[in-house]
């Protein structure tokens, strides 16, 4: 597949996943089972982020050190958020 076709296919996937997130809310799943729907929506976001980073930002073809660099930043942000939030539970 040429790069242009690949990028186009990815764009379609991203578009569909974004729509799916809204559909989860519109279909009332948040009211029925909040946390299940919540995690489904967040996982969809994570999948989209990985796809954009991997293909549009070309991390897939870059040295793993760049991915590690970004994951370090992400780890720091998640650690701060989770630990701080847990501390007041």
């Amino acid at each position: 597949m040429s790069r242009t076709k690949l990028y186009t296919a990815i764009y379609v996937v991203l578009f569909v996943l974004a729509t799916a997130q809204a559909v989860v809310e519109q279909a009332g799943y948040l009211e029925e089972s909040y946390w299940l729907a919540f995690w489904a929506i967040m996982v969809l976001s994570a999948v989209k982020a990985v796809v954009v980073a991997g293909w549009y930002q070309h991390l897939r073809w870059e040295p793993r050190s760049l991915t590690t660099l970004m994951l370090l930043g992400l780890l720091g942000a998640v650690a701060l958020t989770v630990a701080a939030s847990y501390s007041i539970l």
Binding site: Y7, Y11, P63, G76, A77, I88
Partner: protein
């Protein structure tokens, strides 16, 4: 052991097996020995200055981008702030001569306490270390300069202007007077209403911008521009300490930037992050601040530790014992530093489980430090000590740090902390550690002074300085342990403690006056001191000592290489590398080779635009400091503030444009060793490193939202949001951004095919979609601002409640990123129309890295702020 046994220095470049007999390196790793100068060092160091004015010209210091000049500027400016912060400390000590506010007014004392802490921690300690880092690190790794010389100059000017802004805050009612930790809710305008308080916060933002730019620059340089054979394992210990410091800075300062931006939002716009009405507001500040604040302790101390290790090696004639373990311990501390922050919060309402966990991590972080301390002690035991001034300060720093470290372990234990927190025990411990670090850096100042000036200081006066310093230090801080029951930050204390405090005050003046000796010594010696060659010390082993003092503009007489195990310089040849190792002695610097031939004059060393950009940023923030609850003051002052901000904005934007148009050639690299980013070009790596810090910035903003929502009750949050806040605008904006990202990658494809109209069209589509995103957001915000419902009769604006605050500020930060991206894309359309990027998609790819990152952030903001 005889002196002869020390004539060969410790191995400087390698992590080779340690020698066991006190300092004789056995593996040929010496750079400097009795045969100094090292191979290939010429006697005529100074070459072409590439248009840079001479050092006696004032203009030079405004335009220079050379790392050594910037290092000198950092060092001198930091010493100025030492005087500034030191005088404030002396005022405090005079006030504390007796209990009560009988010397300074109460408010003035609060200002002195707060400003002293902020100035010393931010504007003195780290910048002094970065003076050395700027000067020494490129020399130690075999680079001509930093990767981005103009950004290096920009770092300095942002630093200087941030300090000036801090100074100006004293004249705007009062500077910030709520303590250097700026705890909430004291940091809110209701308690610290003066404009000067806001200016202090903005000054800190400017300082953090400087630190972030510097971090990106140093990380790119140290990972990409090491000489052949200068592997990470072989890097000198000072350079290692700086490498770990800048990694910590990259992430820690991003968290501080987030905290300061949220605080600025509260103070300037009237949002409610840290308001008493916001659940968990005070705790949110503490988490964000200390997530930065504890790594900051090591950010400040590591360079001192690196300097101490260099000094110990040089003045004992012995390679650092357990060198690789020492480096490993530093690495471990750098990682651990991000998981101990809550020990500063044991007296808050965080739960017992998390307190216990953080007590364990805190006690754990002392272990690698034990290893480092024993390594330094054992190095002394195995070597033969020469008691020169740098060593005295290095040794003094070790003693003080041991005391500071041990007393800190007390504070890491929850039950002891309950008693000791908020007392002078903390003050004493903190100063033993931090000013212990200063002691090591002062040792570094004496150590590298001959390299920086080409002249030797007066040894006798140096020793007098140390004597006064060490006695004064302990007279100042040790009584604070004995008077530990004194409450922190206030001028009242039990009369029975007066004697200890008076002793402290005497010590403070002795310590302060010791610096007069230093300033006299260094100032006089800089002009009339004994001239030195490249290497004034007998056993210094790192590369900066192989070149003349001060070094020539581009540092080395040829291409530095460590391939043979010792430093050699090679003339340029035709061999080029592919980004990996350079093979053979005929190898050349790919970067310099290209630059010499293509640009005819080598690297550039002068640009006025970093200074102008720094001045512009300064004026923007000075102007914005007048903003309160979204409005500038009435009357003339309001006009002055607005005008200042506009002038600053024009200067800043103009200088950015000018920098993009300026022909400036920095060193490109790689020069042999670039692990682990061998195939990632400098600019791309710099961009990725910046994005990593942006991950923390946005992560902290999102974290603030999550934390506030948890504090309020996650599923009750919807009551804070009007019904009119629906999914559709967010979904439309998701479509717009995803499509704009797609347009960017298509632009890259058109660039590869050299299709000019395709590139222009794709970029125009990107901008159009981005503008559409902003318009959609604007319509949505206008609607929400002006809703009238029973729950929100006055609309839903940024200050309505914590939900509106988090929504507008987080998506607002994202919108600012979009705007910056649109400006860049607009510029690229202009360039593409003129035929740029044909067959060269790299610039579009680099823009895309940023634009896709902005897209990714939105992919999380959309569900968090519109769906769940």
């Amino acid at each position: 052991m005889t002196d002869d046994e020390h004539e060969t220095t410790a191995d400087p470049t390698g992590d080779e097996p340690a020698v066991s007999d006190g300092g004789t390196a056995s593996d040929g790793g010496s750079i400097v020995d009795d045969d100094f100068p090292a191979d290939g060092v010429p006697d005529t160091p100074h070459g072409d200055d590439h248009g840079l004015p001479p050092t006696h010209s004032i203009r030079r210091w405004f335009v220079t981008t050379n790392h050594k000049d910037i290092g000198l500027l950092y060092t001198v400016t930091a010493l100025f702030f030492l005087i500034f912060g030191g005088l404030l400390a002396l005022l405090m000590r005079l006030e504390l001569w007796a209990p009560g506010a009988d010397f300074l007014a109460a408010g003035s004392y609060n200002q002195a306490v707060s400003a002293h802490g902020l100035i010393m921690v931010f504007w003195f300690l780290s910048p002094l270390a970065f003076g050395f880092a700027n000067y020494v690190v490129p020399l130690q790794i075999g680079a001509k300069d930093l990767a981005f010389p103009r950004l290096n100059a920009l770092s300095y000017w942002l630093y200087l202007f941030s300090g000036i802004l801090m100074g100006i805050s004293f004249f705007q009612g009062s500077t910030f007077n709520g303590g250097w930790t700026m705890y909430a809710p004291l940091n809110m305008p209701v308690y610290t209403p003066d404009i000067g308080g806001t200016t202090t916060v903005l000054a800190l933002i400017l300082f953090v911008a400087s630190a972030t730019v510097g971090s990106v620059n140093f990380l790119t340089t140290m990972h990409r521009m090491r000489a052949e054979g200068m592997t990470l394992r072989r890097m000198p210990i000072f350079t290692w300490s700086i490498l770990l410091t800048v990694w910590m800075m990259l992430f820690a300062f991003a968290a501080l930037l987030a905290a300061l931006m949220l605080l600025s939002s509260d103070r300037l716009i009237g949002t409610a992050y840290f308001a008493e009405s916001s659940p968990g507001g005070a705790m949110l500040w503490a988490h964000l601040f200390w997530f930065f604040g504890h790594p900051e302790v090591y950010i400040v101390f590591f360079p001192a530790l690196g300097a101490m290790a260099e000094i110990f090696q040089t003045f004992t004639g012995r390679r650092l014992v357990g060198r690789k373990w020492f480096i490993g311990a530093m690495l471990l501390v750098a990682i651990q530093s991000f998981v101990v922050w809550m020990h500063h919060m044991f007296l808050t309402s965080i739960n017992l489980e998390i307190k216990t966990l953080f007590m364990a991590t805190t006690i754990g972080i002392s272990l690698p430090f034990d290893l480092m301390v024993f390594s330094l002690i054992y190095t002394m035991l195995k070597g033969k000590i020469r008691f020169k001034t740098p060593f005295l300060f290095g040794f003094g720093a070790l003693v003080l740090f041991i005391l500071g470290g041990i007393t800190g372990v007390f504070l890491g234990a929850v039950v002891l902390d309950y008693t000791l927190r908020g007392t002078y025990w903390v003050v004493a411990h903190f100063h033993y550690v931090m000013v212990g670090g200063v002691t090591g850096l002062v040792g570094g100042l004496y150590y590298w002074f001959p390299k920086m000036t080409g002249r030797m200081y007066d040894e006798t006066l140096g020793k007098v300085h140390f004597g006064m310093y060490f006695v004064g230090f302990n007279l100042l801080y040790f009584p604070m342990f004995l008077a530990w029951e004194t409450p922190r930050r206030v001028f009242e204390y039990a009369p029975a403690l007066t004697g200890w405090h008076q002793l402290s005050t005497v010590g403070a003046f002795l310590l302060g006056s010791s610096f007069l000796v230093m300033f006299y010594n260094l100032f006089k010696s800089a002009f009339v001191g004994e001239q030195v060659e490249g290497q004034p010390w007998d056993f210094a082993s790192t590369a900066e000592w192989t070149v003349p003092s001060p070094p020539p503009l581009e540092n080395f007489p040829g291409v530095p290489t460590y391939a043979s195990g010792r430093l050699e310089f090679e003339d340029g040849g035709s061999a080029q590398t592919d980004g990996g190792a350079v093979h053979g002695k005929a190898a050349a610097l790919p970067g310099s080779e290209v630059t010499e031939t293509e640009h005819g004059g080598g690297e550039s060393h002068a640009s006025i635009w970093p200074f102008v950009l720094g001045a512009g940023a300064f004026l923007v923030l000075l102007g914005l400091s007048g903003l309160q609850r979204g409005y500038f003051p009435e009357g003339t002052m309001g006009g002055v503030h607005i005008g200042t901000a506009i002038v600053g904005g024009v200067l800043a934007f103009g200088s950015l444009v000018a920098m993009t148009r300026e022909k400036f050639h920095g060193p490109e690299g790689p020069f042999g060793e670039s692990w682990p980013f061998t195939t990632v070009e400098n600019t791309k790596l710099g961009l990725w490193i910046f994005l990593a810090s942006d991950v923390i910035l946005f992560g902290a903003f999102i974290g603030a939202y999550v934390f506030s929502r948890v504090a309020h009750g996650w599923t009750d949050w919807h009551h804070l949001i009007p019904e009119a806040h629906v999914v559709l605008p967010g979904l439309i904006n998701t479509y717009l951004l995803l499509t704009s990202s797609f347009a960017v990658v298509i632009a890259m494809e058109f660039a590869k095919r050299e299709n000019r109209l395709g590139v222009v069209g794709s970029l125009v589509a990107t901008v159009g979609l981005g503008v559409g995103f902003l318009i959609n957001k604007g319509i949505e915000w206008q609607h929400l601002f002006h809703i009238h419902t029973e729950a929100f009769p006055a609309g839903w604006d940024p200050g309505t409640n914590i939900a509106s605050t988090t929504f507008y500020v987080t998506t607002g930060l994202h919108a600012l990123h979009v705007i910056v991206g649109l400006v860049i894309a607009g510029y690229m359309i202009f360039r593409a129309w003129g035929g740029a990027y044909m067959g060269d998609d790299e610039p579009i790819e680099y823009f895309g890295l940023y634009w896709h990152f902005v897209d990714i952030v939105w992919l999380f903001l959309f569900p968090l702020f519109y769906i769940v």
